[in-house]
């Protein structure tokens, strides 16, 4: 019943834009009516150029996310277990964490040059911190008796991490993953817009520079769709995995 209501406003806005454009002259170097943007979306979808850009953006995003996310996970588990280590590193972490990831774009470009690696490095930096912080807090909140049981059973540290910590912290880790994935996509597109000549962000800049606004809007819509779809898919996965536990935290949307 309420589903259709969400689509009314965007459709009305699109119709309004179409009418405004048609009555207001019709040609522009910076704007395009929705009808031409839709045609352009179909064109870039069928000629394969959008697929190439999407593959590049998603590929670097996943690689960066894997690097930063798993790094943060490992570091977060270590810090979650050791009070000593946590106290020792907190100041350093608090100094490094607020550095805006885009500030590292010039540095990454200097070190790696154009290509996948500079983008992956910045994405890894950006996703490392939320992954670290959320993993650490997830580990700290694990029922202490579970750890005691594991110690009684003489589990090794690795076994404790694998058999107790990861399953117990899984719902929170899933939330961390959703957050980090959202960040990774934003940073990937940003890196491509600012400096790295590949992927969807670069497609956007090229469309702008070559005065093809319909193409620009088509790619922009596609980027929005990717972000929205990725978030919806991860939320669905989360609900499906942890529905029985009833502890899915949907308040943190990316």
């Amino acid at each position: 019943m309420t589903r259709w209501r969400g689509i009314v406003v965007p459709l009305a806005l699109l119709a309004l834009a179409e009418v405004a454009f048609r009555t207001g002259g019709g040609t522009s170097d910076s704007l395009a009516p929705p009808s031409r943007a839709i045609a352009a979306l179909w064109a870039v979808l069928t000629d394969g150029s959008l697929i190439v850009g999407t593959a590049q953006t998603l590929g670097t995003m996943l690689a960066g996310l894997a690097l930063g996310g798993l790094g943060g996970l490992a570091a977060g588990i270590a810090l979650g277990f050791s009070d000593l280590l946590r106290r020792f590193t907190f100041l350093t972490i608090e100094m490094l964490r607020p550095i805006p990831s885009v500030a590292l774009l010039p540095l990454s470009l200097l070190v790696f040059g154009f290509g996948h690696r500079m983008e992956i490095a910045v994405i890894a930096f950006a996703t490392f911190w939320p992954s670290l912080i959320l993993t650490q807090s997830a580990v700290v909140q694990i029922e202490p008796r579970l750890i005691e049981v594991a110690r009684m059973l003489r589990f090794t540290r690795l076994q404790i991490a694998w058999k107790i910590v990861l399953p117990a912290a899984a719902p929170r880790l899933m939330t961390a993953l959703r957050l980090a994935a959202g960040l990774a996509l934003v940073v990937a597109v940003t890196a491509e817009i600012v400096s790295n000549p590949q992927g969807l962000g670069h497609d956007l800049m090229i469309a702008q520079e070559t005065l093809r606004p319909e193409r620009m809007f088509a790619v922009l819509f596609w980027v929005g769709l990717l972000g929205w779809g990725k978030n919806a898919a991860l939320l669905a996965l989360e609900r499906w995995l942890f529905a029985c536990r009833g502890e899915v935290d949907t308040s943190i949307a990316t």
């Binding site: 170097d29 910076s30 106290r87 100041l91 550095i99 470009l109 817009i193």
Partner: protein
């Protein structure tokens, strides 16, 4: 640890934190002094500090720092005003929420930097473009948080408002906004982070004065100490703004606990 047992925790915490930081800087020094990483890529802590001090006293860092901070704050304040006003309008009505929430969620999942090309083709590469993008990007966290805060108003408070025959405007001012304050502040913190990021990106792309364009130029000229000093300053802005708002948050929402 047993030797430290007599030292209270609030003394130990900062001491260990500082020790950790000292180890980090020492490692950084060893890596650069030992030539493990080329000096073109990683400047030593000493050289970075020198560049920072020189840039602040005699160079352009002070002006660039001020320009970036002002840009960030201007965009963030504008975005916050728009977000709280719009969020209250949307949040007060369940119907408006049902119609607008999906659109807002979509707009929010759009990387804010992706609208930069559109902004460039609409208004060109000026300071107005950068400000517009900052406002557009940092409006969403606060806007959605405000809507969320209004949606979470205790139903009994709505009943009270009805019994008291409060007008809609009175409801917003007396019940809605005070209830939404914790949500709004959390949203504004997120918005400020976004505003800083977009200010830096905007400066890099448009060449406007600020730390964003400064570090870009430093990297292009292979001046690593200046680059690291600029990154450190940006980290400082992020640190101060995030903690400043956290303190405000604790102050304002103290009555809740």
């Amino acid at each position: 640890m047993s030797a430290f047992r007599t030292v209270p925790g609030w003394v130990m915490g900062p001491i260990m934190g500082l020790a950790g930081l000292a180890v980090f800087i020492a490692l950084w020094h060893v890596v650069t002094a030992g030539g493990l990483v080329s000096k073109a890529f990683l400047s030593s802590p000493g050289a970075t500090l020198d560049a920072l001090a020189y840039g602040l006293r005699k160079g352009d860092f002070a002006g660039q720092l001020a320009a970036t901070v002002l840009r960030m704050l201007n965009g963030w304040l504008l975005a916050s005003i728009v977000a709280i006003a719009l969020g209250s309008l949307i949040g007060i009505s369940a119907t408006a929420r049902a119609y607008l929430r999906p659109t807002l969620a979509f707009a929010r999942s759009l990387p804010a930097s992706a609208v930069i090309p559109i902004a460039i083709s609409l208004v060109g590469l000026g300071p107005g473009m950068v400000l517009g993008v900052i406002v557009f990007g940092s409006v969403w966290p606060t806007l959605l948080a405000t809507v969320q805060g209004f949606a979470n108003v205790e139903p009994r408070l709505r009943d009270v408002a009805q019994v008291l025959r409060l007008s809609r405007a009175q409801f917003v001012v007396k019940i809605g906004l005070p209830n939404a304050v914790p949500d709004i502040l959390a949203g504004m913190r997120l918005s400020l982070t976004v505003a800083l990021i977009l200010a830096v990106i905007g400066e890099m792309l448009s060449g406007q004065e600020g730390l964003g364009s400064a570090i870009l130029l430093a990297a292009r000229a292979f001046r690593a100490p200046e680059l690291y000093a600029g990154i450190a300053l940006l980290g400082l802005i992020g640190f101060v703004s995030s903690y400043g708002l956290l303190l405000v948050d604790r102050r304002v929402t103290r009555w809740r606990s």
